[in-house]
């Protein structure tokens, strides 16, 4: 059974751990650099990206996370996508720079603009529409080389596969559908 770390500095890491377990993996919480050893992949959950960045700095996790991402698969949702992108807007902030992606924070607006919607026409092997829960979500403004857009909403990419890595601007961990977590698990060990 693959072992997937879930970055547990802040955010909805428990929801991800539950989804990973239902999808057939073992999930472990990661708060320190040494906890990155022995895991096959990592999930960076939803939450506040500024809060997670601070906690990475407090515990010297920034470089170890970046090094991990250069070698093994990482799946980021919402704040996780912001932290993995090469470029962050609104405001500009540091990131792990794992993906050639430009992401704008809180791009739909405030909480009143959060929403649940159905994504049809996705490229996730056919099947029914994907439910997408957007919470103070970012918008992907640019997808660089190597990114395959799997789903879009209002013309903007919301689920992008980079081969080794996967990012979503919404929260598949808050829906019952496991297809996106399963897609990530398929990347492990390749």
């Amino acid at each position: 059974m693959p072992v997937v770390g879930v970055l547990a500095l802040q955010g909805d890491f428990e929801a991800h751990a539950g989804a990973l377990q239902r999808a057939g993996a073992r999930a472990v919480e990661v708060r320190k650099a040494e906890e990155l050893e022995g895991i096959d992949g990592l999930v960076i959950p939803g939450g506040e990206s500024t809060s997670m960045l601070k906690l990475m700095d407090y515990y010297n996790l920034f470089e170890p996370l970046r090094e991990f991402g250069l070698k093994k698969p990482v799946f980021g949702t919402c704040a996780g996508a912001i932290l993995m992108a090469a470029e962050v807007l609104n405001p500009s902030q540091r990131s792990l720079d794992l993906l050639d992606l430009t992401v704008e924070r809180n791009a739909y607006g405030r909480q009143l603009d959060s929403r649940v919607t159905e994504l049809t026409g996705h490229a996730l092997g056919g099947g029914p529409a994907l439910e997408a829960v957007f919470i103070r979500a970012p918008i992907i403004r640019r997808v660089g080389d190597g990114g395959q857009v799997l789903a879009s909403y209002q013309g903007d990419p919301v689920l992008v596969d980079f081969g080794q890595h996967l990012v979503a601007t919404f929260h598949p961990e808050l829906s019952a559908d496991l297809r996106i977590h399963q897609r990530f698990l398929e990347k492990l060990g390749n």
């Binding site: 500095l9 802040q10 955010g11 890491f13 428990e14 506040e48 906690l55 909480q111 929260h171």
Partner: protein, 297 residues
């Protein structure tokens, strides 16, 4: 469960509470404090006019903060901004919804506007957090539409004892419900003065249908760790930060201890070189009329 708890609007409200889990929500009174909070790693800020310790000291009627203050705080930070309204004051809540704050706290820290009714929160699109001292109170607030619960503690006291009492109470009451038989739940619902369907939810899952945070009296990194170890999924810190001798250091220390709450060495490291905590109050020596936690039901 009726449809309300599964409907998209409610799931979006609970969704933001899910994102705040494992974090620290800090009371701030201006843009400068909001920047300190964000820089320390707060996951959200609570905009208010005076921190609870000052409300306690100065007395008078405590109301929703001035709109200019809340706007200033919203403009100064990229993290979610919450603001407080008086219990039952749905017109204040409508104003905050129009202002587009991210969460409303219907709070006992402000002077109640209605001693009989809380706000009917289901009519709002903006999510609400409400305080509680026990399970019945939590379930009544959820029935009204609260998408996040926080135990009340005793705000502005710098004393963790009431926060501990309330968290222990609600966790114990939830555990007890899980071992009851189905036929006992109606009587339990009557005892708790809470809707049966919510009692059934707790019976089945052993937890609330919304996130459960802790507030009221957290003043040190170890206080935050204690709240988390007792079952809180995140913490609110009010006077504890900006009434201490070095707010920047203390804010950072509480954020660190809150993430590593289950690692004694992590809490130890967070507790070093802190300066003085806010002065505390012995709740047992306080007059009943000075207690904030008894506001609301």
């Amino acid at each position: 469960m009726s449809n309300m708890y599964l409907d998209e609007g409610f799931r979006v409200k609970v969704g933001l509470a899910e994102m705040l889990k494992g974090g620290v929500i800090m009371d701030v009174t201006d843009a400068k404090q909001a920047e300190i909070a964000e820089k320390a790693g707060a996951c959200a800020v609570m905009a208010l006019e005076r921190v609870p310790a000052d409300i306690r000291k100065e007395g008078g009627v405590a109301r929703m903060a001035a709109i200019s203050k809340i706007r200033e705080i919203m403009a100064s930070t990229s993290i979610p901004v919450m603001a407080k309204v008086r219990i039952g004051h749905f017109a204040e809540a409508r104003v905050l919804e129009a202002l587009e704050v991210d969460y409303i706290d219907e709070s006992e820290v402000l002077t109640p506007a209605d001693e009989e009714h809380h706000i009917w929160k289901r009519d709002f699109k903006v999510p609400f957090v409400c305080g509680c001292r026990n399970l019945g109170e939590a379930l009544r607030r959820i029935a009204e539409g609260a998408a996040m619960i926080r135990t009340k503690g005793e705000a502005g006291s710098g004393n963790i004892v009431e926060a501990v009492r309330h968290m222990r109470t609600i966790v114990k009451e939830m555990k007890q419900i899980t071992v009851l038989g189905q036929e006992e739940l109606v009587a339990e619902s009557k005892r708790l003065q809470a809707p049966l369907e919510l009692v059934e939810y707790v019976h089945k899952h052993g937890k609330l249908p919304v996130p459960n945070f802790s507030a009221g009296g957290i003043a040190t990194p170890a206080d935050a760790a204690l709240a988390r170890l007792l079952g809180a999924e995140a913490v609110f810190v009010g006077s504890g930060i900006f009434k201490s001798s070095d707010p920047e250091k203390r804010a950072k220390a509480i954020v660190k201890a809150n993430t590593h709450y289950n690692d004694p060495k992590g809490v130890l490291e967070a507790s070093e070189e802190l300066g003085d905590a806010m002065p505390g109050l012995d709740v047992r020596q306080m007059d009943e009329s000075q207690l904030l936690q008894t506001r609301g039901w």
